[in-house]
């Protein structure tokens, strides 16, 4: 059905759908007043032009910020760019008050329910809750029964998924109770929208959301820490998790370390973070690891994601978890039908937010009802570990339908039937070239921070839109997108301004560097340097093609150093990524290390990583391999520059720097050793090639004023203390870094051995002579230097990273 729009041209093609609430247009087809400002702004000039601009800008910002949502087993690779619709969802202050009131009550109710389930279990004893729902749920953790978390708060972070019914009321469709995700994406979305539609944000006075995160910071640390101010961490399942980006982003915004299970250890019922400076007590954990994976000692025994002994620490009251272990028991559609009675019993209140009609089939009358109406109901599993695509009863026929009915009869308690939800629709921009406005169905995720005496609702959140048109399922896994939510202010709304309220707690500086993070920083340094060195070597080699003799030496060295495959042309090095030593494989490792240290990288830095990743994907396809190498070197130069300028120069940074220097020392000593051992080392063209490979020709020329010769070349590449490509320079810099890293212990430096072979002027003359012996001797000395650098690397690993290497095993007898 077509409807008259506020101006025929701008909303051409936007259709309301009968039986569906439309966020933008009222029943008469006119734009609702609270959307007017935004729509006017968009169509002030030319609507199409402004929507296209919004779309492009949004896409660019997402790519530059590297916002992703990982989908397991996605053919396109793990990283899928996040999709943000540049049109926000606009809600009035009145609409928002209703939502707020409902979500606040829901959060209180769920906390009270958890308190009962993990305590007296009165609701079960009184027959208000079927024991099957909690007891059959894999996230009901018996070892946590009787454990009361700090302040009696099982639920600290809560998210509600809401949908708007055709009559305009909000309905609850699901509770996110164990480790709600999405608040970080909401923050990222807002930061992008403030750049895409800055004037509209200001003109409308859109409510700010940053204050929520400041509050989160304060609340989670308050009371949990000691006088020194507590330490809070975010526990992640790792970079493969679908919302890893968000976890890293939140960690960055909150200034808390992002850690994996192996970064934490429990000693005497206290949780510690393994840091470069030793064990540091952890007071608060925001966990993104699912309930039953959190403690391999008492829960799922094979879990490598968890922290052995964590439940013991919780039991001893020595750590605060958001949310408490076992909160995931609430994530089942089976609860919905029982909630009105639970609210009445626990709070003495009627539910503000109705939930979608649900029948838990474990009750005989409910089962009979469901079987009678199966054709118009949606059947869902009660427990999250059941495998069942939710098929609509009515969509099934013949055998499939009979099978579903048999399942329902055999294990009725394992199924829930729900009325289908009719989602509301909101304007979205088509992501094609037209950038036209179309209607798509959507749902909301609203976030709450639960305190002992108050509950703060994030004034905004995440609207999730269907992949296309009017679908009643929205999910990122299924290719849907997101929207920012703009809540309009009224006289009563008071928002914390960005960064305005911070108690002194947030001024406490945290110096904790998780050991695993430091190890990745070190390898990030090594791989970035390795990629640069190999790229230069390949570039020089490709340039030397015209001179057969030089090319032969060059290609031999490339192969020895793993920069080119034994039987392939060096230009293939950029195409083939099967080799585990090639530059492409190294660059992939570099990107992987970067993803592991993401919480330490600025947005600018991360953009450089994203750019490098793009180049890796393109490198094989590019016509000219030399151009591809140029591009790669440019990105790598940005890496090096940013490492100097854009990072705090703490001990972690120092290990990154040491990694770069050790790698450079190894590469250059090997390169020179191989070169000296090759027969025509003294020829001018050969020397010129080596200087090019070491990026030193431009320094050589003005300094020596003679055509490239071996003696001056060695003077520059070995002896020079001021040239960053010389061994002496790197050796001195490494010595300084080591001294800063372990001022009290010089044994690491001793591992590096003697300074480089000292070369007198007479030596240089002898090296240029007809005899090969002096060159072979220097070659050997350089090899020893290379081995010393490797030994140093091993020592550093032993000292700083060794405990991250040990695996935990779960054993039972």
């Amino acid at each position: 059905m077509s409807t008259p729009a506020h101006s025929a041209s701008s909303l051409e093609g936007y259709r309301t759908e009968p039986g569906r609430y439309d966020e933008l247009l009222d029943a008469a087809g006119t734009v609702r007043p609270h959307w007017q400002v935004l729509m006017d702004r968009l169509s002030k000039a030319d609507l199409r032009q402004s929507t296209q601009r919004c779309l492009q800008l949004t896409r660019r910002l997402i790519a530059e910020n590297g916002v992703t949502y990982n989908v397991y087993a996605d053919a396109q690779g793990a990283d899928r760019p996040w999709t943000l619709d540049p049109l926000p969802l606009v809600l009035t202050a009145t609409e928002w008050r209703d939502i707020e009131r409902g979500v606040e009550q829901r959060a209180r109710l769920l906390n009270a329910l958890l308190s009962d389930l993990y305590g007296a279990q009165r609701l079960i004893a009184e027959g208000l809750v079927p024991p099957q729902i909690p007891f059959g749920h894999p996230n009901f953790l018996w070892p946590c029964h009787g454990v009361v978390p700090r302040e009696g708060l099982w639920l600290r972070l809560y998210a509600a998924d809401l949908a708007r019914a055709p009559d305009g009321r909000w309905w609850l469709i699901a509770d996110r109770a164990q480790a709600p995700s999405g608040a970080g994406y909401a923050l990222e979305n807002r930061q992008i929208m403030e750049q895409v539609l800055p004037h509209a944000v200001r003109e409308l006075g859109v409510r700010r959301i940053r204050g929520f995160f400041a509050e989160l910071r304060e609340q989670l640390l308050a009371g949990g820490g000691s006088d020194e101010g507590g330490l809070a961490v975010i526990l992640t399942p790792g970079p493969l998790n679908e919302t890893y980006f968000e976890q890293a982003y939140l960690a960055h915004q909150l200034g808390w370390p992002l850690v994996e299970g192996a970064d934490l250890t429990v000693r005497r019922d206290t949780v510690f973070l393994k840091t470069l400076a030793g064990l540091r007590r952890v007071h608060t954990i925001i966990r993104r690891v699912d309930d039953d994976w959190c403690d391999p000692l008492e829960l799922r025994s094979g879990s490598a994601l968890g922290v052995p002994g964590l439940i013991g620490a919780v039991r001893a009251g020595r750590v605060t978890l958001a949310n408490a272990l076992g909160a995931g028991v609430l994530e089942s559609p089976a609860w919905l039908g029982f909630m009105p009675a639970i609210a009445e019993r626990l709070l003495g209140e009627a539910l503000h937010l109705p939930s979608v009609g649900s029948w838990w089939c474990g009750e005989r009358p409910a089962l009979e009802h469901v079987l009678r109406h199966i054709d118009r109901l949606l059947i869902k599993p009660t427990y999250p570990n059941q495998r069942l695509e939710p098929p609509r009863g009515g969509a099934l026929e013949g055998r499939a339908r009979a099978e579903l009915i048999a399942h329902l009869r055999a294990q009725p308690h394992a199924y829930v039937a729900q009325d289908p939800v009719v989602l509301s629709q909101a304007p979205s921009l088509r992501s094609d070239a037209t950038a036209s406005i179309e209607a798509r169905s959507m749902s909301l995720r609203v976030f709450a921070l639960v305190g002992a005496h108050s509950c703060v609702i994030l004034p905004g959140g995440l609207a999730r839109v269907a992949a296309s048109g009017a679908l009643d399922v929205v999910s990122h896994q299924r290719g849907g997108g997101s929207k920012d939510i703009w809540v309009l202010p009224d006289a009563a709304s008071v928002d914390v301004h960005d960064g305005a309220v911070r108690s002194p707690v947030s001024l406490v500086r945290h110096e904790e560097l998780p050991s695993r993070l430091v190890e990745n920083l070190y390898w990030f340094g090594r791989y970035s340097s390795r990629c640069e060195d190999k790229a230069r070597l390949l570039r020089a080699t490709l340039a030397a093609r015209i001179d057969t003799e030089v090319y032969e030496t060059a290609i031999g060295i490339c192969r020895e150093l793993g920069a080119a495959a034994a039987d392939a042309d060096p230009s293939a090095a950029l195409r083939q990524d099967v080799s585990t030593h090639g530059i492409i494989a190294d660059a992939r490792r570099l990107v992987w290390c970067a993803s592991q240290i993401r919480s330490r990288l600025s947005a600018t830095y991360w953009r450089t990583v994203a750019e490098l990743q793009r180049q890796l994907q393109d490198s094989g396809r590019r016509g000219d391999p030399r151009k591809a190498l140029e591009g790669l070197l440019l990105s790598l130069a940005a890496f090096a520059g940013l490492a100097l300028d854009d990072m705090r120069q703490d001990q972690g940074w120092r290990l990154l720097s040491i990694g770069r220097r050790i790698e450079r020392l190894q590469f250059c000593t090997q390169l020179l050793a191989l070169y000296l051992a090759s027969a025509p080392a003294t020829q001018q063209a050969q020397v010129e090639w080596l200087l090019t490979a070491c990026d030193s020709l431009r320094v050589y020329r003005p300094r020596y004023a003679v055509a490239p010769r071996l003696g001056p070349m060695l003077d520059l590449l070995v002896r020079d203390g001021e040239h960053p490509r010389s061994l002496n320079f790197q050796w001195q810099a490494l010595t300084q870094d080591l001294a800063m890293l372990c001022a009290h212990d010089m044994s690491d430096m001793q591992a590096l051995g003697e300074p480089l072979p000292s070369l007198s002027d007479a030596d240089l003359v002898a090296l240029e002579g007809p005899e090969a012996q002096p060159r072979t001797a220097l070659s050997r000395a350089l090899r020893l230097q290379c081995e010393a650098a490797e030994r140093l690397s091993d020592r550093l690993s032993m000292r700083y990273f060794s405990h991250t290497r040990l695996d935990s095993h779960a054993l039972a007898s």
Partner: protein, 291 residues
């Protein structure tokens, strides 16, 4: 009967274990039919921390933490236990199994009563017990309509004993239970888990009991496992499918839970350690016979 029991567990590791958390279920829980008279637990090396507590199922549990590098962990539990004769329970006097299932299911606003409620904890899938149609099918000829629950359970125990071969070394604790059902061989843990899976798949309540059994005739003693089924009006009744018998005075219960995972004698997570070797020895000596 009165027994002296010695249970020794020895782990040998090929590399240093630098940190270790262990949960021990080695103290016999108090029950109407048994009392633990003497008890000693010896752990080498001496743990940095040791705490004696009671787990959520009411079993005594010791948790220990070792912080110093070690290549060996030895735990010796020694105890004297008095076992009483249990009241005779006639299978024919127990409720029909469907009646039990009905009593355990949910009826809105009619509270199930404390005893039924406790049984409800043991009706669901757990770490080592699956609920599958295959288990229901396997048990179906024992659970005919209207048969008293204990008569049916006794029949199932006999069927398992008949069909399954006791063969150590063929399964591990991580062998999937459906595979055990297909292969029809295993050790006492497998017999117990399969029987529990059958009972729970039928909608009944069953729990896993870990303990010791005294074997006359010079057979090797070992730690043992059996099951308990919820059989009103008698409450929980213990059956040993491995030996096709109701549990009497030859058995000493240590702990019970949903499955092996809740009550394994030693359960732990170690850091380091390389590969390991485990040896367990159990001696159950009747004291009266010795005197």
């Amino acid at each position: 009967m009165r027994y002296h029991i010695r249970h020794r567990t020895l782990y040998r590791y090929s590399a240093d274990v630098v940190h270790s958390h262990q949960l021990l279920h080695l103290v016999p829980r108090p029950a109407p039919f048994q009392q633990c008279l003497e008890y000693a637990l010896q752990i080498t090396p001496t743990p940095r921390e040791r705490r004696d507590e009671v787990d959520v199922f009411g079993n005594p549990m010791t948790s220990i933490e070792l912080e110093h590098p070690h290549r060996e962990l030895c735990v010796v539990a020694e105890m004297d236990v008095q076992v009483h004769t249990r009241p005779v329970v006639l299978a024919g006097d127990s409720w029909a199994w469907e009646q039990v299932r009905e009593a355990l299911s949910y009826h809105a606003c009619s509270p199930p009563g404390r005893e039924h409620l406790e049984a409800c904890v043991f009706r669901h899938e757990s770490a080592y017990v699956r609920i599958k149609r295959a288990f229901m099918d396997y048990a179906s000829d024992c659970f005919v309509s209207g048969s008293p629950i204990l008569a049916a359970a006794d029949a199932l125990s006999s069927k398992l004993h008949r069909d399954f071969q006791y063969s150590p070394g063929e399964t591990t604790i991580s062998t999937p239970l459906l595979e055990v059902l297909e292969q029809r061989r295993g050790v006492c843990q497998d017999f117990a888990h399969v029987m529990i899976a059958c009972l729970r798949s039928l909608g009944l309540a069953a729990r896993y009991v870990s303990g010791y059994v005294h074997r006359s005739g010079g057979a090797d003693d070992a730690s043992h496992a059996w099951i308990a089924v919820y059989a009103p009006p008698f409450g929980w009744v213990e059956l040993d499918p491995t030996n096709d018998t109701r549990v009497a005075t030859d058995h000493v219960a240590v702990a019970w839970g949903r499955d092996f995972g809740d009550v394994s004698p030693l359960r732990g997570v170690i850091l380091g350690g390389g590969t390991h070797e485990l040896s367990v020895s159990v001696a159950v000596a009747p004291l009266e016979a010795a005197q």
